[in-house]
């Protein structure tokens, strides 16, 4: 394939994809960036756009509610991804054992992943229902609680309950990645360590975990990026409440746009959230790249 034609073809083949992505993502991104320096509002009557420099940003950075929302997002992200990681690895280790029905269980694990996010949120909302929820009933019948609780109506527990629902849906992904990595651990390595006298626990920490760490890191960072923009589950389960206790950054921006109709100010929040995401994305690439080069070495 010759220089010039090769080059032409390269761009011809890419052109439709680039066009779509530019229209739907790149241009809106630039537009959001521009809006963040204006005082635009969403209204039926077009009003003149006024450039107000960094005013939105100064406000956003000093806005305690936004900072709260960021902290909540961070809490949600760290706890749910952390739990998904621990649960995922534990499940993978379990599924990597041979026991009766291990293939069935391995197949079953995909179900939570297949449940649509919104259905997951709705289902858990029903389970957490303060009067007729399955969780209350179960814990009550087991004697673990004496009174029904309002799991997601109580600011103290709401976020953790949302996290539990999110972990239930997303641990299979981590588990599958960890399992795939586990299956590449050479059996000889473990046997050698066992002969050297290392117990199962020691073997897990010094052989298995380091071996699967690369892929595990990559999927965890990917989950972090997804968790950081959490919106759907919050929208359905709690609507950001109670008392803003589950209002995350994405939800905050959403409200700024579509409840308060302040598009300029909303855009500045969006840009800040996007900036944090960008850092996470760069982190993802560096870990994925390390994984890719490590895998070929």
């Amino acid at each position: 394939m010759f220089g010039r034609r090769r080059k032409q073809e390269k761009w011809i083949l890419l052109a439709p994809a680039i066009l779509v992505l530019a229209l739907i993502t790149l241009i809106p991104l630039a537009n959001t960036f521009w809006l963040s320096f204006t005082d635009t509002r969403i209204s039926a009557i077009p009003s003149p756009v006024r450039f107000i420099g960094l005013e939105n940003y100064i406000y956003a950075l000093t806005d305690p509610e936004f900072r709260e929302a960021l902290y909540r997002t961070l809490y949600f992200t760290i706890v749910s991804v952390g739990l998904e990681g621990i649960l995922g690895v534990a499940v993978a280790v379990l599924l990597n054992q041979k026991f009766r029905g291990h293939l069935i269980l391995r197949a079953l694990i995909i179900l939570p992943w297949a449940v649509p996010t919104i259905v997951n949120a709705v289902a858990w909302r029903l389970i957490y229902h303060p009067d007729y929820g399955a969780l209350n009933s179960l814990l009550f019948q087991l004697g673990l609680i004496s009174d029904y609780r309002s799991w997601i109506g109580d600011p103290a527990t709401a976020m953790n309950m949302v996290i539990l629902a999110d972990v239930w849906k997303n641990f299979p992904l981590v588990a599958y990645v960890a399992l795939a990595a586990l299956q590449t651990v050479p059996a000889d390595l473990n046997k050698a360590a066992a002969i050297e006298g290392a117990g199962p626990w020691k073997r897990f920490w010094s052989i298995t975990l380091p071996w699967i760490m690369g892929p595990l890191m990559v999927v965890m960072v990917l989950r972090t990026i997804e968790a950081f923009r959490v919106f759907d589950i919050i929208y359905v389960m709690t609507g950001g409440g109670p008392a803003d206790s589950t209002k995350t950054a994405s939800f905050y921006v959403y409200q700024e746009y579509f409840n308060y109709l302040r598009s300029g100010s909303g855009a500045s929040y969006a840009v800040l959230v996007a900036g944090i995401s960008a850092v996470l994305i760069l982190f993802y690439y560096s870990s994925a790249k390390r994984q890719a080069t490590g895998a070929t070495a």
């Binding site: 269980l105 297949a114 649509p116 709705v122 289902a123």
Partner: protein, 279 residues
């Protein structure tokens, strides 16, 4: 290695615990959907329904009923939107993937592609909303298809690229030597070889689009375009007194992805693992 009794007990307790944790919520959702309405409001709950009541499913599948109309039109919109976006995204992704794999298109560009879907949708939503609104394109299935195409494209390109990478390049070279053009080679040689990969990519893309909520929430507002996730959120937010109805809608929306996931597990899991790990 032989397991001791204690180890076996521990292992199987873990297995049972995991199985319960995994399926109990789903089982309960199904149970709710077929329990009598009065069973669902007992305190404490009645776990086994007093009678099996499938009437909610009947209502959902009846186009003339209120909830049936809402559900069926949402189902239709979801199928059209997810299906349409999957087809278009693949049609754009395959040539792009070929360019990345065989025509030396820069990996930095592919990373840029992927970065666009990793960004929170709130970054794009407002300008998109204004533009679609200005062109009178809100509340249209077509609009969602366009947006979903962009959403599916990077991942589909990425997966297809990884799959084309491992095809034997000599087969394509042989086609070029025989005088075939690039597009003829892609159609007659590459596509047939990549068929399993295309199927896997299509399935994953479809599931992602099926699951999407945020754009659909913002861009649609009535039966003509609302997708299942939005309809379900409506059902659940509305003043429904029978929780079984919500549960039955949830079950119905879960069936297609769950069936795909179980039947094509190997495909999907390997796609997922590759998609989240390889750089």
């Amino acid at each position: 290695m032989r397991r001791t009794m204690l180890q076996s007990v521990f292992l199987y307790s873990c297995v049972v615990a995991l199985a319960l944790f995994t399926i109990a919520p789903l089982l309960w959702l199904v149970t709710m959907s077929i329990s009598a309405p009065t069973d669902l409001t007992e305190v404490p709950l009645r776990w086994i329904p007093s009678e099996f009541d499938f009437s909610r499913y009947g209502a959902l599948l009846n186009i003339d009923g209120g909830s049936g109309e809402r559900f069926l039109s949402a189902l239709r919109n979801s199928i059209l939107t997810a299906g349409g976006a999957t087809v278009i995204a693949l049609m754009l992704a395959i040539p792009a993937a070929y360019s990345f794999s065989r025509r030396g298109a820069s990996m930095v560009l592919l990373f840029a592609f992927l970065a666009t879907i990793m960004m929170p949708p709130i970054t794009y939503i407002l300008p998109l909303y204004s533009t679609f609104s200005a062109f009178g394109m809100l509340n249209k299935t077509t609009t969602l298809i366009i947006v979903y195409t962009a959403m599916l494209l990077p991942f589909a390109t990425w997966l297809m690229k990884a799959n084309i990478d491992v095809l034997p390049v000599e087969v394509e070279q042989a086609a070029f030597m025989e005088g075939a053009s690039t597009s003829y080679t892609i159609r007659t040689v590459v596509l047939p070889l990549a068929l399993p990969a295309i199927a896997a990519t299509a399935m994953l893309s479809f599931l992602v689009a099926w699951d999407e909520f945020f754009y659909a929430l913002i861009f649609t507002n009535d039966l003509s375009a609302k997708t299942l996730p939005v309809a379900i959120a409506d059902f659940s937010a509305g003043r429904v007194t029978d929780y079984g109805v919500i549960a039955s809608v949830g079950v119905m929306a879960t069936l297609p992805p769950a069936i795909l996931a179980i039947c094509f597990q190997k495909f999907i899991v390997s796609g997922l693992v590759a998609g989240s790990v390889k750089g």
